[in-house]
């Protein structure tokens, strides 16, 4: 059974990405994109503001990483349309991201101790 047949069996629509007007219904409009852009700008300003505050380093790192993840997710979900597109795209990208995290996380953990 092909993935297309599987998706059809599950009642998922077959998406023809190059079909005329294929995106009109499932992608957000210009106004929503601008609203997300404003939120991203505010988060960036908050990040820079946090940098100048005299915060505990661990707290600062936690806050900056959280804001960074939020920005990352907003761009990927809305601007790159993973929120609206087929789940296979999400699986592919999340797979690459997860592989990078695991491989380089282990590399840093192992090598950091061996460096003098």
């Amino acid at each position: 059974m092909t993935l297309a047949e599987y998706r059809k069996k599950r009642g998922e629509p077959l998406i023809r990405e190059d079909a005329d007007g294929a995106h009109d219904d499932k992608h957000p409009g210009a106004l929503e994109y601008v609203q997300i852009g404003v939120i991203l700008a505010i988060i960036t300003a908050a990040e820079v503001g946090l940098y100048y505050l005299d915060l505990d380093f661990t707290l600062l790192v936690a806050m900056l990483l959280t804001l960074s993840v939020v920005k990352f997710a907003m761009v990927v979900l809305w601007f790159m349309h993973l929120k609206f597109d087929a789940s296979l795209f999400s699986i592919l990208f999340a797979g690459g991201l997860a592989l990078a995290f695991v491989v380089f996380g282990v590399a840093i953990a192992v090598l950091r101790g061996s460096l003098t």
Binding site: V34, V76, L111, R112
Partner: protein, 197 residues
Amino acid sequence: MAQAAATDHLETSTGLDNRKLLMWLFLASDCLFFGSFIAAYLLYRGRSVVGPYPEDLFDIPFTSVSAFILLMSSVTMVLALAAIQRGNVRNLRIWLFTTAMLGTLFIAGQVFEFTEFNHEGLSLSTNLFGTTFLVLTGFHGAHVTVGVLILLSLFVVSMRGGIQQKDSLAIELAGLYWHFVDIVWIVIFTLVYLIQP
């Protein structure tokens, strides 16, 4: 012509367009590419035995403006896609050109930053910071440059009437690449510039 039209409507085994699938596969592999450079930077952070050090060089207000410019270019890019998906070729051209110019501005800022750092004595071989920082941000800059060239190419094609509503996938693929470059900078900006032990 008839053959090309027939190819456009071929069904794929996934039910998805293979070009878009390939772009996502490329972006997934690029995660590993940038992951290796980010990991190298984090691994060697604070291990340079000679200066200049990051705290001597980084100009956070300047880099913040650069980060803001690249972030806003993602907004203009997605507006270009929204325009062509609704058949508005004029707005597509405006937003494509704006995105390319914002990308060029970002690159100009990076060239300025590298030049300033070089005047302060930082090069690829000065210390571990120089090697890991310049390779990471340099490769990101190369990605942005390629993105600007793609956007300008699409702009020229659209000016010649070569992009219509039915060709929106080409803009979407360019947009995916551009947004990826943006999210990589979101990570670099936080991990390299803002978080300094």
